[in-house]
Symmetry: C2
DNA sequence: TTGTACGCGTTATCAG
DNA sequence: CTGATAACGCGTACAA
């Protein structure tokens, strides 16, 4: 028999509604509705008939009508800071992929760190009946999040960060101030679920890898004054302490921009002598180190081993390819959705995910066989 | 007088509707509706009163109800292929920024090149009453776009590309086959508006820059077998022809992946001698060239000058910083919105935007002063 | 200038 | 198992 005759597509603007489907079968719209949502109280025969017709006439439910009727949206709002920072991509995919499994649709909004845009994002979400919100690495004030919970939204934060006083870094870099750090870790906002990367563990892992390669001198390139920066430094120190190699130098760029990072590394390299090893706050910092080393004529990894953290998109394209601790980006996104939607979204326990070492070419054993500790010769 | 008493936020789930606002003022919902949309037939007094109350009780219009009533959505669907390829970010911003000016909200969908996802994206858009669609550098079959126009959507394509036979590249690289290229350029889909980067001009600009620096030997690193690749090669050839330097070598990686690109460059470098110059298909190809040069011990830009095209996010972080022809990414996004929304969206003329040279460190004059043409000494 | 009444496409309740 | 009916929140033609 010939292929099903496709109804000619409606003249651009008209919609096929349930009424049309119902009329085509001589049943009521209620029946159609029931068939479409697998209501048990319906005969198998009519159900399949409805499904068949709906398919043939290209029926699509009106999200607006459904939303109006049910007063619930199946939408999850997502605020990201900057798109395309090489890290957000897979997180977005994780969110979209998992949300899809729940029949939810993500509604993305790029806030670019502007409070005005954040506020507008919330207005849009509210208008759209969005009740679930995911904030991806929010950097600014927690204003948006507070307002969101005040409006009755469930919110999950992926890698939320917060400023910490600069002196905490100095304390960790020199003395023993773990208790302070832990206190910061407690400061949580209750109706918000935290999904995060284990920064301390990542710092530890990166450092342990360099130690295992035989390095005896290992420097840290600090990140900005935020909690994740502090925790990665903490992990760095822990690994070194365990190995009996603490203390080691901590490089502090004057500002969290590429140029200052390069400067800090350049300055260090001038005073040091190969071979050395470095754990950078993140891949971007690692890239700054790579550039500084290149300019100073140090070869990577022969003279300087560098390990980054994050595994951004570009980590495999640096020169040489960057060894790094990868964030489980897709999973972070997926878990945020789970936190909001699984089991009715009543599970507010924070999730902490471990990183994974990705070995490329920027770190290797010290070129001269590792002997006892070697002091940089001035 | 004390600050306006804020009504306690509704108990999480309840919505403030027009009815509430109307009741608070003792007017009808029609009046409220009119006041909110600047209907001329309303007294200034009641209008301001309504506005004031609406503001105080945190009224937000229900997008769903409005959509159902007006049968139009103020939504623009956006399909991107891969998020976070370092290029999409600013385009997204341009779309969001301009859409906002029209009171439209972008609805993003990452299709990742999977036809299944593309189809689902369309279903979602249809359900959401989306009638305007933007596709950002679609790679796959034009299936999605065809279906979209069949469903009555207006669609704009940013940097749409299409496969071209591999032999066209060979023809351009050797003979004179411009007419074929132009024919390809004609093959357009009518109800679709094309917003695109001028690939040929970019190829020309990159090449002219190298020539202006004094290079007499200038090689091209080919991209994949798509139209943009062909056009950039064409621009490369035009610039060289004008300068009386054609022909020059065209490197053809066996497959459009980083490894093969590196291999192609490595192979060329082995047979050549410094100094040389190269125009890469895009920044990623340029990065491959940088890596190959680094491994072969050639210094950039002293021994090899490299110019990329696109100016992806990471171009300023390569080692050395990449000189490249920047796409006007934000503007591409903004113009796509204009094409759909400005003047009722009846303007289907294609827009072609020029690139801009961004000078960083990867290209410089040949280290030995440029004399007559120098042949690579085998 | 304002109010009344209706319908957009669904789903849920209540009869049958 | 199925049909009639009401209501979700808003915009608008029509009446006042």
């Amino acid at each position: 028999m010939p292929y099903v005759t496709r109804a000619t597509p409606p003249p651009a603007g008209t919609r096929v509604t349930m009424k049309d489907v119902a009329a085509a079968l001589g049943v009521s719209t209620a029946t159609v509705s029931r068939a479409l949502q697998d209501d048990p109280a319906i005969s198998a025969a009519t159900k399949s008939a409805v499904l068949e017709v709906a398919q043939r006439v290209q029926y699509r439910p009106s999200a607006a009508a459904r939303r109006l009727r049910t007063q619930s949206a199946s939408l999850v709002g997502v605020v990201v800071q900057s798109v395309g920072d090489g890290y957000i991509g897979d997180v977005v995919l994780g969110i979209q992929g998992r949300a899809r499994e729940f029949g939810y649709q993500p509604l993305f909004f790029a806030a670019e760190g502007q409070p005005g845009l954040e506020s507008e994002a919330l207005d849009v979400f509210l208008s759209e009946h969005v009740t679930q919100l995911i904030a991806v690495s929010p950097t600014g004030k927690p204003q948006l999040l507070r307002r969101a919970v005040a409006e009755g939204m469930r919110v999950a934060v992926i890698n939320g960060d917060q400023s910490v006083p600069a002196r905490h870094f100095a304390e960790v870099a020199s003395g023993n101030a773990d208790d302070k750090i832990l206190k910061i870790e407690r400061a949580r906002n209750s109706p918000i679920c935290d999904i995060r990367f284990d920064d301390a563990a990542a710092g530890r892992l990166a450092t342990e890898y360099l130690i295992s390669l035989g390095h005896r001198t290992c420097v840290h390139l600090r990140g900005p004054n935020v909690r994740s920066g502090l925790l990665r430094l903490l992990g760095f120190r822990e690994a070194l302490t365990t190995a009996g190699m603490w203390p080691q130098p901590v490089l502090s760029p004057r500002a969290p921009v590429m140029q200052h990072r390069e400067d800090a590394v350049t300055q260090y390299l001038r005073a040091a002598s190969p071979p050395a090893a470095m754990v950078a706050y993140d891949d971007l910092c690692a890239v700054a180190a790579l550039r500084a080393a290149h300019r100073a004529g140090w070869r990577v990894p022969d003279d300087l081993s560098v390990v980054g953290i994050d595994d951004i998109q570009f980590a495999s394209y640096t020169n040489p390819g960057l060894t790094t601790v990868a964030q489980p980006k897709y999973e972070l996104g997926a878990l945020a959705v789970d936190a909001l939607l699984a089991d009715g979204g009543c599970d507010a326990r924070p999730r902490v995910l471990d990183g994974q070492l990705v070995i490329r070419e920027s770190a290797g054993p010290p070129s001269r066989p590792a002997g006892g500790g070697r002091e940089p010769r001035r």
